[in-house]
């Protein structure tokens, strides 16, 4: 194995050997070996449900492995003891931060390590240490800032500082770029490189190939709980890693020329006024034709949420006119939107799109339970919703144990497929796809794109809102950029490259408004 070759050169920081964890009949981890050397970055790649998170939970003692050993700097640590991993120098930066929003950065960092009521001089020492740490590795954060007021990127820096402050020599980052803008991701990578050059080791959990390629020395690929490949990054390439991750070649959707139909949705000089959103739409005009995908690129928090909310029916027009097939709707609500043949794929699929504690069969009818199809005289017609569930599960390849399973137990990709099945069922003419592939693995992304293209080809007008520029470039027929609540001029497919679009995305954006919007 490759790791043996490296072992001679560098010292082992962490070794997981033979880790096996079963949940019932499912093997979440099956005899997984993973090693990490001093000053090395290992990318742990895998689709959703491949077992990455389980493995890390075992490392941190949150789960008890059925078999296997964990060694940190040559010493084996006791199983199932969360403190043991921390004490031995492993720090974790979670995808969802574990910070107290109301406290300042300093207090968050020392929380749990020192007495919060400590006299001022002790706090000053801590502040000095944090300043030293942050300047030495380029993690600039003001120790006295209230965490709640920080941007997502800054919060992440606090998390990293917290780990370092506690003496972490191994840093585990779980999907660290999922919440970051491309610019902030760059900054994170720069920081990581500095840290690693100073002897820190890191495990970088991701399913984004290009990031793994950029940051890591070595890549370990998990699939269905097993290590299916281990490559030195510079000797590998994205195609090879992709095929390892998904087990088969992925086909990128072939795009035919669009066949334009009538105008389906027409926004004219629209402004919104949603108090809970920091950025509202300002004088936005946009018309969507049938048979075409319009991609809306932009850094998250620039008004995408307001636009999506408007089209979804959860927000009213403040100024301007919205026409659906030439008609101005009298009332505007989610129910009206659905009845006007608008399919809505929400940004937060688990918390907005689905009711996690309710079953598949109950969620599948949530937009249309009141129609004659699913209810009669105020009573639900159970058979109809069961039939519909089975149909969606079959046609959209949803993997779920039963239609009675609570949706929260499904993986992100399967939840998204359920939503697709729900909204695309009656061949809607307008589709709002808001971040339809965020957090999905490669296979699921290709599936979602395929479905959107299929809908386009049968004549639906599609608005694709995404933070992922690559996604926009891949399947949109035309592209607009949203920035600070305004839309840029629309360009046809292929007219502008990544660089030009990137420039449009970051123009006019005051940095304080760039993030933290109600997304």
């Amino acid at each position: 194995m490759i790791s043996n070759k490296i072992e001679g050169r560098r010292d082992l920081a962490l070794r997981l050997s033979g880790i096996t964890k079963r949940f019932g009949t499912l093997s979440a981890n099956d005899n997984v070996d993973l090693s990490l050397h001093k000053g090395e970055v290992v990318a742990l790649l895998g689709e959703n449900g491949a077992g990455k998170t389980t493995l890390m939970n075992i490392l941190f003692g949150h789960y008890l492995a059925d078999q296997g050993e964990i060694e940190v700097f040559g010493k084996s640590i006791p199983k199932g003891d969360p403190r043991a991993a921390l004490d031995s120098g492993i720090g974790m930066v979670h995808q969802h931060f574990a910070l107290v929003e109301e406290m300042n950065v300093l207090e968050n960092i020392v929380l749990g390590t020192e007495n919060l009521l400590a006299i001022k001089s002790q706090k000053n020492t801590a502040r000095e240490r944090i300043r030293d740490l942050s300047s030495s590795v380029g993690l600039d954060v003001n120790p006295d800032a209230i965490v709640g007021s920080l941007s997502v990127g800054e919060k992440q820096r606090v998390e990293i500082l917290k780990a370092l402050y506690r003496g972490a020599r191994i840093l585990i980052l779980d999907e660290p770029t999922a919440v970051l803008t491309p610019f902030e991701a760059e900054k994170l990578f720069a920081t990581l490189k500095v840290l690693v050059s100073e002897g820190l080791s890191a495990i970088f959990i991701s399913h984004k190939l290009n990031e793994a390629m950029e940051i890591s020395d070595r890549v370990v690929v998990l699939r269905k709980g097993r290590v299916v490949g281990e490559k030195i990054t510079r000797d590998s390439n994205p195609e090879e890693l992709t095929s390892l991750m998904v087990g088969a070649e992925i086909e990128t959707p072939e795009i035919s020329a669009p066949v334009l139909g009538e105008v389906a949705l027409d926004l004219e000089n629209i402004s919104t006024n949603i108090p809970e959103m920091r950025i509202n739409l300002r004088n936005v005009s946009l018309s969507l034709n049938c048979g075409e995908i319009t991609g809306l690129a932009g850094v998250s928090g620039n008004g995408q949420a307001a636009l999506a909310s408007l089209i979804s029916g959860t927000t009213q027009v403040k100024e301007g006119t919205m026409r659906i097939f030439g008609e101005i709707p009298e009332r505007w609500s989610p129910k009206v939107a659905v009845s006007k043949s608008i399919a809505r794929i929400p940004e937060d699929r688990l918390h907005t799109g689905m009711i996690g504690d309710m079953s598949v069969v109950e969620n599948i009818i949530s937009e249309k339970y009141w129609t004659d199809r699913f209810s009669r005289f105020g009573f639900l017609t159970r058979q109809a919703s069961e039939d519909f569930s089975h149909e969606v599960i079959k046609n959209y390849d949803v993997k779920c144990p039963s239609i009675e399973t609570p949706v929260r137990l499904l993986s992100g990709g399967n939840i998204q497929k359920l939503i697709l099945g729900r909204v695309l069922d009656e061949s809607p003419l307008i589709i709002l796809a808001n971040q339809p592939t965020r957090g999905l693995d490669v296979g699921a992304v290709a599936y979602v794109h395929g479905q959107l293209l299929k809908a386009r080809d049968r004549g639906a007008a599609i608005l694709l809102i995404s933070d992922d520029l690559e996604e926009i470039l891949q399947i949109s027929d035309r592209i607009s950029v949203i920035s600070n609540g305004r839309l840029s001029k629309i360009t046809r497919r292929g007219e502008l490259g990544v660089k030009e679009l990137g420039a449009l995305m970051t123009r006019h954006v005051p940095s304080s408004e760039r993030l933290n919007d109600a997304t």
Binding site: L26, Y63, M354, S366, E367, G378, F379, L380
Partner: protein
């Protein structure tokens, strides 16, 4: 110490854990009984005997369970939609007041119609009692925990005012109580010469109706959706506010039925001690039943049995019957822990 979710629960564990909870409850309550200088075994057998040891005991327990089923259902419905109705006590008293007002009139209606009228009017009264707080919540975001809780005190004082004033029984020798309702306004007894009345049947029927509403109807679906995830419910097109108002109507009406059945079934008139906190105990009943309408019947009977049994035990041994409150409280906690243990594995690190 930490919790690890279990992916599956064996049937044995699902049965064993609640049994264990009962055992722990008995041990903890037993310690208190010992502190009161009595033998726990003797005391508990007296509780059991007092609650279910004879036909009389069983009928007493079911009589006591009747109002608890109504208030338990009221709370279960409201909590399912995350409408925190703490005001079942107030709704109960309004139901009782309206029942007394109608039941003491000479209307000349056939008993069935008269009783139906009392039920409907008292339900409307209870509904209005919760509709107000629900309206304040949906319109202005006023916390319904505060409004419904405070309405309990206002309502009790209001009832007290009525009992000292317009509703005071002129033949009551000055006691703050109302006249007794007419004979045809009384619910029939289920067993000749015993207190158990037709209200118990209405309570059982109500729990089935509520179960059907929650599980089978569009409204029940909407209520559960709103309770589980208000954001997703709104996004899907459910009018959240309208659903909360409908929930208030049902919940308030159910609590009022407790008042109706106590007046028309058990007591015959209204006094200020009509309810020894049935509205509040309804919260415990609903929680113990995990908000399941059919489960409410069983948890109400259990809790009623503990109270009735403890009363009997207190008379025989001198252990204060407050022990019943302690047993109910401990059993709620142990049951919550037991249910958690069926879903999670505890690991000591």
């Amino acid at each position: 110490m930490r919790l690890e979710p279990r992916t599956e629960t064996t049937l044995i564990r699902a049965v064993l854990m609640p049994c264990l909870a009962i055992l722990v409850t008995l041990i903890l309550a037993g310690i208190l009984v010992m502190l009161a200088d009595a033998s726990p075994l003797e005391a508990f057998s007296l509780v059991l005997k007092g609650a279910a040891g004879s036909q009389f005991a069983i009928l007493e327990t079911l009589t006591r369970a009747t109002p608890l089923i109504f208030t338990g259902l009221s709370v279960a419905v409201a909590f399912r939609a995350k409408l925190w109705n703490i005001g079942a006590e107030a709704q109960l008293y309004i139901g009782a007041v309206l029942t007394v007002i109608i039941g003491t009139q000479t209307l000349g209606l056939p008993p069935v119609i008269l009783i139906a009228l009392m039920m409907i009017i008292s339900m409307i009264g209870g509904s209005i009692m919760l509709y107000g707080p629900a309206l304040l919540k949906t319109r202005f975001g006023v916390d319904e925990v505060v409004t419904t809780l405070l309405l309990n005190f206002i309502t009790l004082l209001f009832v007290s005012l009525l009992l000292e004033g317009v509703l005071k029984d002129p033949m009551g020798l000055g006691w703050p109580q109302t006249e007794t309702v007419h004979g045809e306004a009384r619910l029939p007894r289920l067993v000749q010469g015993k207190r158990l009345h037709f209200g118990f049947v209405i309570a059982l029927f109500s729990s089935i109706v509520v179960w059907v509403i929650m599980a089978k109807t569009v409204l029940g679906y909407e209520m559960r959706a709103v309770g589980h995830n208000i954001v997703a419910a709104r996004f899907a097109g459910i009018s959240v506010n309208r659903v909360l108002l409908k929930t208030a109507v049902i919940s308030g009406g159910l609590a009022a039925l407790a008042g109706f059945s106590e007046v028309a079934g058990t007591k015959g008139n209204l006094t200020l001690d009509l309810s020894p906190g049935f509205g509040y105990t309804g919260i415990v009943v609903a929680m113990l039943a995990l908000l399941h309408p059919i489960g409410v019947v069983f948890s109400a009977i259990f809790i009623a049995g503990v109270f009735v049994g403890a009363d009997a035990m207190g008379r025989a041994t001198g252990v204060p019957s407050f022990i019943a409150d302690v047993i109910v409280a401990i059993s709620l906690m142990t049951m919550v822990v037991a249910i958690m243990l069926t879903k999670f594995r505890v690991r000591f690190a």
